[in-house]
Every structure is written in structure tokens, then in C-alpha cells.
């Protein structure tokens, strides 16, 4: 009986690890993500979430000033266009986490949500990120328009398409190449 339980657990664990390994490979076959530049004088933040299995069922809604800007499901991203200056964002599901960023005009910043271990349920953790980490995460699905708002600023999928099309200068193309991530890491461990 105990042996059967152990064997079943190993199968489940193996299946989970296999799925976790397959996701990036599948993402690598998809079209590159194009992040258009922000409108003149505005800044933007790409909020994204990795597509790991851990905490996949948990929400990670991004809020500012008490208003929800957008939900952020596992493996999804959205682009928030906003005014330059200091902004404080809050993610919440069963728990809360805050991150403040300095938005610069005509620049794109990145922020990542992860679900970490909690007592009753996973807890969202919002942290500053980089374009290199965004590339490495292979997050290539925009949040659905239905899951955005009511807070302003999140570009709907059709707005992202229009912004990309309207960009006369070449936009930043993010290709899902895992090898670039390690090379781009600016930190060294002590």
C-alpha cells in the first residue's frame, strides 16, 4: 500500500517536472513578442508572470490607487502606459505585495509576479525585472481584454497591435531565446 502511494507520487512528480520542462520549449516555437515603445512623453511597464505550474491557479491582479489595472494569469503579460514619476503597484490574491517604480518618459520597464509559498495558499510577489528576464521567461500571451481594467492604462490586445503597426521606428523585438538570459544577467554572486 505504502509502495503504491510512493510510486503514484513519483509518477505525479515526474509528470509535473516534465510539464515544467516542456513549456519553454513550446514557447520557443512561437512568434517573437514585440513590445512597442510608449507614446511620446509617457512611460510604460511590462508586467508579466512566468508560466510555471507552482501557483498556476492563483491570481496576481495588479492594482494602483485602489483600482485594479489588470489580472495577470500564469504565463501572461500586459503593458501599462502611464505618466512619468513614482508609482506604487500592489498585487493581491489571498495576500498582498507592493512594488514602487520610477517610470521614465519614453522608456519601458519590467516587473514580474511570482507566486511563492504560503500557509493556506500561495502568495503573490511583485518584483522589479529586466528585459532579459522577460525574454528568458518566454511569457508570450497578452492578458485578455476582459481581464483588464477598470483602472486605466493597460493596453488592450488590439491597442498593442495598433501601437506596433504605428511604430515607424523599429520596435524592440523580444525573442524567446533561453541562451540570452544567462548572458544578460548583470549581477555576480558573492
Amino acid at each position: 500500500m505504502a509502495n503504491n502511494r510512493t510510486a503514484m507520487a513519483r509518477v505525479l512528480l515526474g509528470a509535473g517536472l516534465a510539464l515544467a520542462g516542456v513549456a519553454p520549449a513550446a514557447a520557443a516555437d512561437r512568434a517573437p513578442v514585440v513590445i512597442p515603445p510608449p507614446p511620446a512623453g509617457k512611460g510604460q511597464i511590462v508586467f508579466y508572470r512566468t508560466g510555471t505550474i507552482m501557483g498556476a491557479a492563483m491570481g496576481c491582479a495588479v492594482n494602483e490607487n485602489g483600482q485594479k489595472i489588470s489580472s495577470l494569469g500564469s504565463g501572461r503579460y500586459f503593458i501599462l502606459v502611464t505618466s512619468p514619476g513614482r508609482h506604487e503597484y500592489l498585487v493581491k490574491s489571498e495576500a498582498k505585495d507592493v512594488l514602487a517604480l520610477e517610470v521614465e518618459p519614453d522608456e519601458t520597464q519590467y516587473a514580474m509576479c511570482r507566486i511563492k509559498m504560503g500557509i493556506m495558499a500561495g502568495r503573490p510577489d511583485l518584483r522589479p525585472s529586466t528585459e532579459a528576464e522577460f525574454k528568458a521567461a518566454h511569457t508570450d500571451r497578452l492578458v485578455d481584454a476582459d481581464d483588464m481594467g477598470p483602472g486605466p492604462g493597460a493596453l488592450r490586445p488590439d491597442e498593442v497591435k495598433a501601437a506596433v503597426a504605428a511604430t515607424s521606428a523599429a520596435p524592440a523585438v523580444v525573442t524567446p531565446a533561453a541562451s540570452e538570459a544567462a548572458a544578460a544577467a548583470p549581477a555576480s554572486a558573492q
Binding site: 507520487a9 505525479l12 521614465e104 510577489d125 518584483r127 525585472s129 548583470p186 558573492q190
Partner: protein, 202 residues
């Protein structure tokens, strides 16, 4: 012992040209017609350690200009000019593998008694988290008779540290007329770079 990430070291080689700093005692030259353009890149040095573990959100920290600002092959702001940065966000590393977070902004450097405003210092950073390791413990709990996943609560992520003396790059916010500021200037020896127009900051 908690892991610590040192950032500034990676920026030891800043993508700005090496130049000759204005030597002491060089006579001041009028700079009335010179303007430092907006978005000129400037290299900065941290004058004290800033860390996600010890710094507070909203605190300021001292910076100095690490490389002179050069216009038309002339030093218009010598290295060593005083400046200031601000901690936009600092969060300590915590349990369940959460890494420390640090978002910094360069505010200004002093030029001829005025503030040359700065922006666009490197984006914020978070230490290496241990969330993946905690997840692995949780997964292992499935096949273990012991609740080893609980160890994850005690596991901390890395702290982010900008060491004293480390370098960063920022940009000037707007065009900055030097006016009649008496700024000691010096000539640039590297004529080759000068002639190629590579010494004007951008």
C-alpha cells in the same frame, strides 16, 4: 550566511570614453555658450553602500560624477562633481525564498552651484530568489514521509547591494546651459576619439 548579490561590479567598465580629468589649478574658462544636451549619458559612482537590507524607501544617498562630461572635446564638468540619488523602493529579503528588492534613481549632480537633473539610472533589481528551491522542497514533500516543505518558510532570497565605489549610468533630464558658471575645464588628449565625435556623452 545569506547570499549577497553585488551589482556595481558588473558596471566597472562603463560604456563612456576614458578621458583626462581637469587637472587641479587649471584656470576657469567662460562657458556661457555651452549647453549640455538632454539625455547626455553620465557615469556615476556610489559614495556609500546602498542595500535592500539596510536602505529605507525615500532615503537619499551620495553620488559623484565618475567621468567628466565633455563637450566639443573639452571637459565642462570635471569628475568628482557631487550628486544625489534616491531610494525609490527597498524591500528586505524574506521567508519562502523572497529576494530583496532595490529601485534607485539618480536625482542630480551639482554643476557651478546649480543642480543638473538626472534620470534613467539602471532599472531596479531584485536579488536571486529561492522560490524555485522552496517549490522543490514542496514537491519533495509528496514523496517524503516528513513535511520537509515547511523548511521553505525559513529560506531567504538574496540581498541586493550597490557597493560603495560601484558605478552606474544615468542621463541628463533636460538641456543644461552652463551659463557663466566658472567651471574648471581641461583639454582631452585623445584626439582620435575627439575627431570621431565620440566624446560628447550620448
Amino acid at each position: 550566511m545569506q547570499p549577497v548579490i553585488l551589482l556595481g561590479q558588473a558596471l566597472a567598465v562603463v560604456a563612456l570614453p576614458s578621458v583626462v580629468s581637469a587637472p587641479a589649478g587649471v584656470p576657469a574658462q567662460p562657458a556661457a555658450d555651452r549647453v549640455i544636451p538632454a539625455l547626455t549619458a553620465v557615469a556615476l559612482r556610489f559614495d556609500e553602500e546602498v542595500s535592500s537590507q539596510s536602505s529605507k524607501t525615500g532615503a537619499t544617498f551620495p553620488l559623484t560624477l565618475a567621468e567628466p562630461i565633455i563637450l566639443d572635446c573639452k571637459v565642462v564638468v570635471p569628475a568628482g562633481a557631487r550628486g544625489e540619488g534616491e531610494v525609490i523602493w527597498a524591500k528586505k529579503s524574506g521567508g519562502a525564498g523572497t529576494a530583496g528588492e532595490l529601485v534607485l534613481a539618480a536625482r542630480w549632480i551639482e554643476v557651478g552651484g546649480r543642480h543638473l537633473r538626472l534620470r534613467s539610472m539602471q532599472p531596479g533589481a531584485a536579488g536571486r530568489d529561492s522560490v524555485g528551491k522552496v517549490d522543490a522542497y514542496n514537491a519533495a514533500t509528496v514523496i517524503s514521509p516528513l513535511p520537509i516543505g515547511l523548511l521553505g518558510f525559513a529560506m531567504k532570497g538574496a540581498t541586493i547591494v550597490r557597493a560603495k565605489g560601484s558605478l552606474a549610468v544615468a542621463k541628463t533630464v533636460e538641456a543644461f546651459p552652463l551659463g557663466d558658471a566658472n567651471i574648471p575645464t581641461g583639454s582631452v588628449r585623445n584626439d582620435e576619439l575627439c575627431n570621431e565625435g565620440k566624446l560628447n556623452g550620448k
